[in-house]
Symmetry: C2
Subunit: 524 residues, 2 copies
């Protein structure tokens, strides 16, 4: 064997070994990324600034307070120690907020219907999921925006159910064809929990709709007790209309959720420059004040009830007043919110991955990616809106959902960081390659070990060379996503809810999604 | 006036004031972002890990060393204290490296031909620029890849000259139509320095070519002394062929540059998994060892000579061995390199913004953006390859150049961070709006003050609503970039090099770019 042949054979052998290694399924401890990677290496705020924002929020609560609480809320919160002003604002003494923080629910699991999807969103662990509520489905090929439907919501759930890097499913689109509010709320919850066994988030406009939905959730869980032991749905609750006003109906839904054992996302969605101050730091102060008020409310109903600190501070394009979800200011606000929830040791949730682009184009890619990279590395526990969203939350693209899953996979890899262990720092590999070896690391033992544990690979992203790409006919990433999407939609019909339970639900509630839309079509 | 009319009038007035404020040119102290924002809020490595990597690099230099130095290099480095082994490897005792680090050049300005473009790349200040060397120009509309030319190189320089967020111009494409190496090197330098007054970087394959180019640079500067006082071109020098071998001709070019007063980018471009170890930490060790060897070399020629610590560790897709410039592992390696140059208090340069995508599509956007967000926030002083590059450095797109400028502007905004001053934390704005005011912040004084200083706006990115976008005919971001590009190319012909100097250069050197290609065409 000539030297060249020998090198070729050795390299060929290495390549075959790499191929075989890639083909084998990876045990969890060898996967390059997993749900709940630990972030926190990016800190947009100095520690002292975090404290300043906290103190200013306490001042806001004590001096300005919140207006428009419903009578039941006033009752709960004044009994806990809040003071009602003659103008009808609730003021929150510093001691009340501090006591609330001391006894608030912490380190609670967000359950999936399947326990393998349980989330442990505390510390600096990071989970990515969807949210909404888009009113349009975007056709990524034509640019057409059409009204979203219950079927879309269910289909998106099915796709999310298959995607490695989406860890929970909050309802992504509005069932626009349902005009009756009860029907919309119930069917929204139904489509989500039927489409995935991952943890679900959704919202309700009236407490009666939530009561009706809880009946369904009890049926799925196998009883109220089982539901309360492992609540697999949380309520996304916009309990506040920034600046500093309670939202009447949302507050009633909040009370019902807390009493019903459902975790609550305390979502304050001020928009800096419009409904929140334009100065980013002051906008954070207002957000924090509002979420702390929500926390007082929840704990006044039931001490220690699970609540997510949902500082979702949005951003205005100040030239027009319109929302800019993809802006760098958004990345800063969402990332900074991580530091505030860490400061309180509360489960923090915020938004990232919103784009102002109308299509899954380069703008969509870069806006999502710089937001995810910074918000993820800041260590936000629950990152909502992370996949599929376009046009500052107005549109949802199924193709984008798949592509964004790749973005999140890559960002999770950055959160994992660099392993600087004695093993990874072994100089023996360098010594062998340079002094004895082939002069390159392609076939080194370490390379084979590391290729799965340290390297993440895209699912629809493409790394072929220009020549290979031309030979393939210059396929676009959207086309690749469409093909993959079609396969998932044709194949993946979750069956975790038994037919008998589904029939019981349909007997009690006005479910509008036809059974036949939830089963693989019989081929004729 | 009804209440509605009054609100409308007030909001209209606010909008007019905002429009007027936007139209006025911004003084530098009010611009939301400027060249050299201070990064460092993202730290992928623990401090202890940085020290581990440093110590391992010292071990590599002392125990494994580098092969293949040219005789002149062996002479320089052994005289400084390196030891030549019988196998021809140079070993670097720990004390030699430490002495070199103690006296190495620090805090040197990288000059522009126009002093307004001078860079101060030290501490955690961050500057973005181009690099290369792509061999293709990509037509973003058709996907066509064609050979790049000297005219392209000059045109790209002209465009970079106009872009706010690109702070230096390293030669981006190869002049493929020039086959004679001297012609290629000289014309590359000429096209760059003629097209922009920003700091230029380029490379040479033979020292004679650099000598010839220095003649040109002296002419432009007004003499050798003036050149040495403000060298406005640095040499991108791949002095090492990883793993741990010196590159013969590049070393001779390095020596010529140092003697000629030209700053040197000590560029070690190992590729993890191929020419560098697959374990990211070990790859960093090798990079650092190689760049420290280069630093010894430079300082052995001329103590304190300006050298950039160029840890450009690339990444392999381990399934194929091909480079993956857009991978998350790339972001980690480039960001980590910031911490190492900070540790040494050296000017650090690395690569970010390389994409594996073949077009300015969503993959290109997300790969560039998560890399830039993390590498920029890590505080790398000089970020090369930051705009225009596609297909893992094989292709350059002019449209992407303009779009990437927007990405960098946004990332600079994130680097600037959140102002948590007493002024920004004033609760008076919240109090007024909630207790007295209109219930929103759209027209608040603070909003108008902040809209320029705290908010950055895209140049080709689009934030219109889906409805507005449909009315506009669904324009794509690439189309918007093409229109803007056409305007710049038609209008911007730099004239900073006087005709007499240009003639003197052409009299001495084989300049191939026709004069008429460098002047605005006369309209007939």
């Amino acid at each position: 064997m000539s030297e060249v042949e020998s090198i070729t054979a050795r390299r060929g052998g290495a390549r075959a070994a790499r191929r075989a290694a890639r083909a084998a399924p990876l045990p969890d401890n060898l996967r390059p990324v997993m749900p709940g990677m630990t972030g926190g290496r990016y800190k947009p705020l100095l520690e002292a600034d975090v404290v300043k924002i906290h103190r200013a929020a306490l001042d806001v609560l004590e001096q300005i307070g919140l207006a428009d609480a419903p009578p039941s809320g006033i009752e709960y919160m004044t009994r806990a120690g809040a003071q009602l002003t003659p103008q009808g604002r609730l003021l929150f003494p510093r001691s009340l907020v501090e006591d609330t923080l001391a006894r608030a629910g912490r380190h609670f699991v967000l359950h999936g219907q399947d326990p393998k999807h349980d989330l442990e969103p505390w510390g600096s662990r990071v989970y990515f999921g969807t949210a909404g509520a888009a009113v349009h489905i975007v056709n990524a090929k034509t640019g057409e925006y059409r009204d979203s439907t219950t079927q879309d919501l269910y289909n998106i759930a099915r796709v999310v159910d298959t995607l490695d890097h989406l860890h929970f499913y909050q309802r992504s689109v509005v069932c626009r064809e349902l005009v009756e509010p009860l029907e919309m709320d119930v069917n929204t919850a139904y489509a989500c929990v039927s489409g995935t066994t991952k943890h679900v988030g959704t919202s309700w406009v009236r407490p009666e709709h939530l009561e009706a939905s809880l009946e369904m959730l009890h049926l799925i869980a196998g009883g109220e007790e089982q539901w309360r032991a492992r609540p697999f749905v949380s309520q996304s609750n916009c309990f506040v209309v920034p600046p500093l006003k309670f939202a009447y109906d949302a507050c009633l839904c909040l009370e019902t959720a807390v009493r019903g054992g459902m975790p609550v996302l305390l979502l304050s969605a001020g928009q800096a420059g419009a409904t929140a101050p334009a100065a980013l730091a002051t906008a954070l102060v207002q957000e924090v004040a509002e979420c702390l008020a929500g926390l007082v409310y929840v704990n006044a109903i039931k001490p220690g009830a699970p609540a997510i600190f949902g500082t979702w501070c949005f951003v205005s394009d100040l030239r027009t007043g319109a929302m800019s979800g993809g802006s760098p200011e958004q990345a800063l606000l969402s990332a900074a919110s991580a530091q505030l929830s860490h400061y309180y040791d509360l489960t923090g949730g915020t938004a990232s991955g919103m784009s102002d682009a109308k299509l899954p184009d380069i703008q969509s890619g870069y806006e999502k990616a710089y937001n995810h990279a910074l918000v993820g590395n800041a260590g936000v526990n629950l990152i909502y809106e992370s996949a599929g969203m376009l046009a500052s939350l107005l549109g949802f693209s199924m193709e984008s959902l798949l592509i964004d899953n790749d973005i999140i996979g890559a960002v999770q890899r950055t959160i994992k960081g660099i392993d600087v262990s004695d093993e990874s720092l072994s100089l023996e590999t360098i010594r062998k390659v340079c002094l004895e070896g082939p002069g390159h690391f392609l076939g080194a033992d370490q390379t084979l070990q590391r290729m799965q544990k340290e390297y993440v690979y895209p699912s629809v992203g493409d790394r072929s060379s220009p020549n290979e790409w031309v030979v393939q006919g210059r396929p676009g990433i959207v086309e690749r996503a469409v093909r993959k999407l079609d396969t998932i939609l044709a194949d993946h019909y979750p069956t975790h809810i038994p037919d008998a339970v589904d029939e019981a639900i349909r007997a009690r509630l006005p479910i509008r999604l036809p059974r036949e839309a939830m089963r693989r079509p019989v081929k004729t």
